[in-house]
């Protein structure tokens, strides 16, 4: 195993530059030039082995996902990705694993033009913390506290595939590659998030489960929400394999990295046009109401209590 400093050089040599990076990896800190007139959005998320990804996840996918979950947070704020850092703890030196992990990380970084500008490598149980910075035109970031009574609630993509894949992995069942990749290689909705600035009111990513995450929007905005469970978008794989309340449970379990946003009903056609131009499914799943809390309802309008709605890291 090469030492820490050789590792840093190897990573540095593989990073595609951005013109606003004055000094990248290799000093005590990175130096970047924030664009004038824009605000900075800062997000951070940790992945621990066995907690946030199955033990058997490939190094490439671990690297990919560590960045993806952070890009998803930037997307939920409507921010354009710019720079990020990676703090990596590894139980033992392992060049092959590390190179593959960085491969996965950089494969996604290139797609979203985000530069890895710094990091830290330490000995410890496998854990990755990424901090990512993006930029938004001043005053245009999408926030949780901006939902308005009467808004439609929209959802991007489909929900539940990651939870289905995780269930199969945990039960040692064979999991089709296509399904497994929904767990291991989420596609953060950065383009959509940016496009929604000025169109959406509130926006979040549903990493912790759509009902729980919508609950935070309701608290922050001082509103309530009604979600039609049968309207939650499902992939064909999920729709074929799981029905009814079992499906709803998977669809509200989190780890999907899709965007959920509220918008005035007058934006309906604008949002449908956006769906076409970005080739991302956008589905109306409910509406913002007065009051508080999230009501999950079935096709008949009856309230449904789901046994476990979403993910809490602690508690």
């Amino acid at each position: 195993m090469s030492g820490e400093f050789e590792l840093i050089s190897r990573i540095a040599a593989r990073i595609s530059p951005r013109s606003d990076v004055v000094l990248g990896i290799g000093d005590d800190g990175a130096i970047v030039r924030p664009p004038v007139g824009r605000e900075l959005v800062i997000v951070t998320d940790t992945l621990n082995r066995g907690v946030h990804f199955p033990e058997d996840t490939s190094a490439f996918d671990v690297g990919w996902k560590a960045l993806a979950v952070n890009l998803s947070d930037l997307a939920a704020m409507g921010a354009t990705p710019a720079w990020c850092t990676l703090a990596l703890s590894l139980p033992a030196p392992d060049d092959v694993w590390l190179d593959a992990c960085i491969d996965g990380f950089l494969a996604l970084a290139v797609q979203h033009d985000i530069a890895l500008v710094g990091g830290d490598t330490t000995l410890g149980p496998l854990s990755l913390t990424v901090t990512a910075c993006g930029t938004v035109a001043a005053g245009t970031a999408l926030r949780r506290d901006a939902a308005k009574v009467g808004d439609d609630i929209w959802m991007s993509g489909t929900l539940g595939d990651a939870a289905l894949a995780l269930r199969e992995v945990l039960q040692n069942k064979p999991c089709a590659d296509e399904l497994r990749s929904r767990l291991d290689r989420p596609s953060p909705r950065c383009e959509l998030g940016r496009a929604l600035a000025g169109i959406a009111h509130a926006c979040i990513d549903v990493s912790d489960g759509v009902l729980q995450d919508l609950g935070h929007v309701c608290v922050a905005s001082g509103v309530g929400a009604e979600v039609r469970l049968d309207a939650l978008p499902a992939s064909e794989v999920l729709a074929v394999q799981v029905e009814g309340a079992k499906r709803w449970r998977l669809q509200t379990a989190g780890d999907d990295y899709e965007l959920c946003f509220s918008a005035d009903p007058t934006q309906h056609s604008v949002i449908e046009a956006l769906s076409n131009s970005l080739d991302v499914a956008l589905t109306r799943i409910g509406r913002v109401v007065s009051g508080q809390g999230v009501r999950a309802i079935d096709a008949g309008g009856g309230e449904v209590q789901l046994p476990s709605s979403g993910y809490q890291h602690f508690g």
Copy 2:
């Protein structure tokens, strides 16, 4: 134990605001307003229990040190601290421990006017990753690649107390509080770092040991360095307890979070004035020479090979 979201609210309620923070803890990301005409410096560092601090370190000190090591990196770049995030993995929910850890973190944050704007809390082996942002006037950051042949090499404070304290802890010897606090509560040299912009050429913090860290400066700047081991500043505690090569070994072991910088000899009196005005000892420990590598020499000018010079996280 309260859940993650209650924890977030509790932390959010305790943070002193900065006027450039548009949106702090509690959304998918924080929103901040970078000052016009300044560059952004981004640093990140992880502390793992048993690797970066002894198992018995108090929660308060763990929180303090997690921020301190990052502030020290900002100091080494000459940056003014602005915003930071904290990603915290805890093996089991523990309100009391967490509150004390946040106490330590915020006690130091207030001193340096840095705002905690976001974070992540997860289950996992005890680990803290802080990412900190600071700002510098464009073009004035202190870098590793700016040392010039003929420069004096200066050192702030004293070296070796943290290593002495760690040795005593690992040998289960009683360790005086004053000495132990040098290991657990380093005082990052932010004020000094800022003041050195425009005065120093290259600058680093010596977290990994002065000889090793100077080695990086030499590589980046294409120069060599000569360090007089007997000139390395020592505290009274260290000077009384340890002599000669044993002392030098402790003084080059790292974990001191002092600044080492190079400056033109004509800056001598300016630097001495700075030492007085900031009340920080600044000691000349060597000079930048042509060639490459760091030569550690004794009082007679003979080269000294120290058995282990500094800390590598991997390898």
